[in-house]
């Protein structure tokens, strides 16, 4: 299945680094980023988005379970796309359109990886057919303990109650007769 789980995890790590790069740009040069995206210069909002991107990126790179953070990226993409769509409606520049398409493409990639990582890992069937614990075939182990172990008397059926044909029962009857 494409992508495989290892490929999805590698993709998540790559997007983590991308998040950190984008977030750093938003944090350090918010006006330039706003111009490149064709949106109004709102420094605080762009920096806030930068913090979000960096936090998500760091979490993706450090978490043993990146699925949650991939879905966080998807949510961030939806927010970004909403803001870009609003800007496109009010000002309608080609730059904004291009930015919206880029965010859309990233959102698709994020969604694909998040869904793949959300699928449970297949469990290989357990094979315990060779786990005997014995050094030889069980047929060869049968009765080995009888040669060196006497079942204690308090766990044995009393001799007189043993199967009539058993040696012990015959002996008990002989004793009783004597």
């Amino acid at each position: 299945m494409f992508p495989s789980r290892p490929q999805a995890r590698a993709g998540a790590r790559a997007l983590g680094w991308l998040s950190i790069a984008i977030g750093a740009a938003q944090l350090l040069a918010p006006q330039r980023v706003a111009r490149a995206a064709g949106v109004p210069d709102r420094t605080l909002a762009v920096r806030g988005s930068g913090v979000r991107e960096i936090a998500t990126g760091v979490a993706l790179l450090n978490s043993e379970r990146p699925t949650t953070w991939m879905w966080a990226r998807v949510a961030g993409d939806v927010l970004d796309a909403t803001l870009l769509a609003r800007a496109l409606r009010s000002e309608g520049s080609a730059t904004t359109k291009a930015a919206l398409l880029a965010v859309g493409a990233l959102a698709l990639a994020d969604l694909m990886l998040a869904r793949r990582l959300s699928q449970p890992a297949p469990i290989a069937p357990m094979d315990y057919k060779r786990r005997s614990g014995f050094p030889m075939a069980t047929q060869q182990m049968r009765g080995i303990a009888r040669s060196d172990f006497a079942v204690p008397a308090d766990m044995r059926v009393p001799a007189a109650l043993r199967p009539w044909s058993s040696d012990a029962a015959r002996a008990a009857r002989s004793d009783a007769a004597a």
């Binding site: 069937p125 315990y128 786990r131 005997s132 614990g133 014995f134 049968r142 009765g143 009888r146 079942v151």
Partner: protein
């Protein structure tokens, strides 16, 4: 130190608690290298066992290194590697001297409470309710071992933890279950439950010479492991236990039957097991004895029923008529561990059996709470969980 503590039904937590200390001259403190989750721990997890208090440290299968010894303990030294039996035994009372270690008359410090419930108390147990003495359990980094000059078994460094850990409970439990059957060479032994105790009961029955051993369960990987140990498998989800046993014994029934399931018998399509579950929900019955009923029904007249499976309280609708009229012998009991460990250790050292076959999961103590769920739900092929509180 860290330890697994019971906080209520389905609520086990790994938390920091004070380290144990010597309280009596016969005590020892053991640094736990390996411990295990037992099937009977699941009864605590499910909230079925009375006498637990929030915060109790659980676990009764453990081993490790002696790190402190009381002044009166001449049997152990710091540095000794020991496996600790799940029953606490003084070694001196009348019951211990008779070999009935699980009935020790001195080790249960809450015996007055247990007397009210059971008539007469049994031995103290690690991490298994205040009815059994309220002792801190072994799913922890350190444990105080009372009467440590009586119970713990020294084990050689040449054997791994996984080879000897089960000398403290499930291996001698399976062994005693088979011994209680008094197996004759022509016997068919049927074992209900292919968890760890059932697996050791199967192999014990083979070693003691049973002609045929049958394992009854519904989990495929447990039945695979049972077949590896020499049993014929019956999956009760796929076929009728009664019909198949009749087929395997030419209609006569198995001579010896072992209940390695106990009070939480799985609810099957049988009416009696469904009623048990309903009655339990309404608190009209504490235990689910479906396996006991089935054993009584199928056992060959004159046969023996051996019950290592743990029960806690009252059962309903037990076919006493069948039990009596068929002349069946019923042998039960918690394991007299110290009675068997010397012999079983010898068999491990000779290579007759390697108990590590039963280990399916090895985790850290922190993963213990999650493993209780995995073990309970029989997920991921889980049969026996070993935890490493101190790493490795």
């Amino acid at each position: 130190m860290r330890a697994l503590r019971w906080h209520g039904k389905h609520d086990i937590r790994c938390e920091r608690v004070p380290d144990p200390a010597i309280e009596d001259g016969r005590d020892a403190i053991v640094k736990v290298s390996s411990c295990a989750i037992c099937g009977s721990d699941l009864h605590l997890f499910a909230g079925f066992m009375p006498g637990m208090k929030p915060g109790d440290i659980i676990g009764h299968e453990f081993m490790g290194e002696v790190v402190d010894v009381g002044t009166d303990n001449k049997a152990l030294r710091v540095g000794d590697r020991v496996v600790v039996p799940f029953t606490i035994t003084c070694g001196e009372c009348d019951q211990c001297r008779r070999g009935f270690f699980s009935a020790c008359e001195r080790s249960n410090r809450n015996s007055a409470l247990a007397d009210q419930v059971f008539g007469h108390a049994g031995a103290g147990l690690y991490g298994y309710t205040h009815l059994a003495g309220g002792y801190a359990g072994g799913q922890a980094e350190y444990v105080r071992v009372p009467f440590a000059d009586s119970g713990p078994i020294k084990v050689p460094d040449s054997l791994t933890d996984e080879q000897v850990l089960f000398l403290g409970d499930v291996f001698p439990t399976g062994w005693q279950a088979a011994l209680q059957c008094d197996i004759e060479p022509n016997d068919t032994v049927a074992v209900w439950g292919a968890g760890a105790v059932g697996q050791f009961a199967i192999r014990s029955a083979v070693l003691l010479g049973a002609r045929k051993v049958i394992a009854i369960d519904r989990v495929p990987e447990r039945l695979d492991m049972a077949e590896a140990g020499g049993a014929v498998a019956i999956n009760f989800d796929e076929e009728s236990v009664l019909d198949r046993l009749a087929e395997l014994t030419r209609g006569r029934g198995p001579e010896k039957c072992i209940d390695a399931v106990g009070m939480e018998a799985h609810v099957t399509r049988s009416i009696d097991s469904m009623l048990d579950r309903a009655k339990q929900a309404l608190q009209l019955e504490t235990d689910r004895p479906h396996v006991l009923r089935e054993m009584i029904y199928v056992c060959r007249p004159g046969g023996v029923l051996s019950v290592p499976g743990v029960y806690a309280g009252m059962v309903d609708k037990l076919p006493m008529g069948a039990l009596m009229n068929k002349g069946l012998t019923l042998r039960t009991g918690q394991t007299h561990v110290s009675r068997w460990t010397h012999d079983l250790l010898g068999r491990i050292e000779q290579g007759q059996i390697d108990p590590s076959f039963v280990v399916t999961h090895t985790v850290s103590l922190e993963d213990g709470p999650q493993m209780y769920r995995t073990f309970r739900d029989k997920q991921d092929g889980c049969i026996k969980v070993v935890m490493k509180p101190n790493g490795h």
